[in-house]
């Protein structure tokens, strides 16, 4: 197929009106590593027109049941799936979901109760991590009241495939922390009751990228909200991927050297 032939087809391609063989040939031509004579631009122009055509219609009113079904498909199922995994992470998720459900009134009360029952069962199974779950639950509940970032952590935790990872103390540090990590690892939010900044000290977030000997990437500072410390790992720092997350104790304002001064917490993300 030549570029001229392709450009004859762009309108139909944009309307998805090409027959399968023609569509395959057209797409193959577009993917060819040749000097195209305006092929991508011609297709983009036709696609722009096609996108505008729906603007001719008048919006149609939808009954509220459609939104409720969307909610059910997206969120109820996600909650049920989350309860099915064992351990303290489940308990934390149950706690957060219960926070949301608590605001939903009578309609969802039975579901909330069921969630709590499942959370309790998970906590029993979790054994030694029971305390950690309770700590997490308490932290999230406290943070929910005041912090937009906490709300984002809650939303992130409800996202299917998200997970909670614990930080391990380093060098005798006495505190603990958790991070809620999105499925694609492009978002991570730290929660802790042990990392409140002091007048002469900040806690700094770090991302350890994949690759042997890769240097830690600074990812922002921990902030406190009513006794709960939260940290939003910067998206740029997570862009290259993350093998582990870390927190360091630093002079006010963050590391003066660009490297962690004293690492106090590390969480391995694995694979």
């Amino acid at each position: 197929m030549t570029c001229s032939e392709f450009k004859e087809l762009t309108s139909a391609l944009a309307l998805d009106a090409l027959d399968p063989d023609d569509r395959t040939m057209a797409r193959a031509h577009l993917a060819e590593s040749i000097t195209h004579e305006g092929c991508p631009e011609a297709l983009a122009r036709a696609e722009a027109v096609a996108r505008l055509l729906s603007g001719a219609l008048i919006d149609t009113h939808l009954p509220e049941r459609v939104w409720r079904r969307i909610e059910t498909r997206l969120f109820d199922r996600a909650s049920r799936r989350r309860w099915a995994t064992a351990g303290w992470a489940v308990a934390a998720a149950a706690c957060v979901t219960a926070v949301i459900l608590a605001g939903r009134g009578t309609r969802l009360r039975s579901e909330r109760d069921a969630a709590r029952a499942q959370a309790s069962a998970a906590q029993v199974r979790a054994g030694s991590s029971d305390d950690l779950a309770r700590q997490c639950a308490a932290q999230l509940e406290s943070a929910r009241k005041t912090s937009g970032l906490a709300r984002e952590a809650i939303a992130l935790l409800q996202q299917p495939g998200s997970r909670v990872v614990p930080f391990a103390p380093q060098g005798g540090f006495g505190g603990a922390a958790l991070a809620v990590v999105s499925p694609d690892r492009r978002r991570a939010i730290l929660l802790s009751a042990a990392l409140s900044p002091a007048p002469a000290r900040d806690y700094q977030l770090w991302v350890i990228p994949p690759g042997r000997g890769a240097a830690p990437v600074p990812a922002g500072l921990v902030e406190a909200a009513e006794g709960v410390a939260l940290g939003d790992f910067q998206a740029g720092a997570l862009a290259r991927g993350a093998l582990a997350l870390a927190v360091s104790a630093e002079p006010k304002g963050g590391s003066p050297t660009g490297s962690p001064t004293q690492v106090v917490l590390v969480a391995a993300l694995g694979g």
Binding site: A12, D16, A17, R51, L53, D59, V66, W67, A155
Partner: protein, 196 residues
């Protein structure tokens, strides 16, 4: 409490542009999804209803579309179109998929037999920009020769390929191709080059 929760979520997205709402959906914010639903579900429903001619199926398409938006919001690229256009394209694609699950013969007959549905009354809350957009697109379509407009509409709203349109209308395939190409070029001139 529900209202309070809703207000919290709405406040979180207040002042944010529509593109920011999509970014917030990508970060897992339910309130942002509701905000996008409030803005664009009516358009998605109109498209699906026009294509499928069934309220029940169209509602299912809207559900599928917003479930997909929740899962694929991170893939949205502003440089490729507005969020409204992205969502509309997704709704159309879902509706066409559903249409093509029917037998081809049934699909073609239904499409040809269908009268363009009567317009509902625009919602009272409709934004002026939305009204202007509709007027502009309708004006551009109205100035096309009838056969070109009908052919483009059979492709866009009917989900028919060029060959199917040729068979269904009794026109030569080459004629159908020419009508689509000329019609789309005229629309591009009217919609992309002329000042709004």
């Amino acid at each position: 409490m529900v209202v309070q929760l809703l207000w919290i979520l709405l406040a979180a997205v207040a002042g944010a542009g529509v593109e920011e709402v999509i970014a917030r959906i990508a970060r897992g914010e339910r309130g942002a999804l509701r905000s996008a639903y409030n803005s664009f579900a009516g358009r998605a429903m109109a498209i699906a209803l026009r294509i499928l001619g069934s309220t029940e199926e169209a509602e299912e398409v809207v559900q599928d579309t917003f479930v997909e938006i929740w899962r694929r919001a991170a893939e949205y690229r502003p440089e490729r179109g507005t969020p409204g256009a992205w969502i509309a394209a997704m709704a159309r694609s879902r509706a066409i998929d559903r249409l093509r699950e029917r037998t081809r013969a049934e699909n073609t007959l239904r499409t040809l037999a269908a009268e363009p549905p009567r317009d509902p009354e625009p919602p009272p809350s409709e934004a002026a920009a939305r009204r202007q957009e509709r007027t502009r697109v309708r004006t551009a379509l109205a100035v096309l020769p009838d056969e070109q407009r009908r052919t483009v509409e059979l492709a866009y709203f009917g989900g028919l390929t060029q060959s199917e349109i040729a068979r269904a209308t009794g026109q030569a395939l080459g004629t159908v191709k020419t009508r689509i190409r000329l019609g789309m070029e005229k629309l591009a001139e009217a919609l992309l080059e002329a000042p709004p």
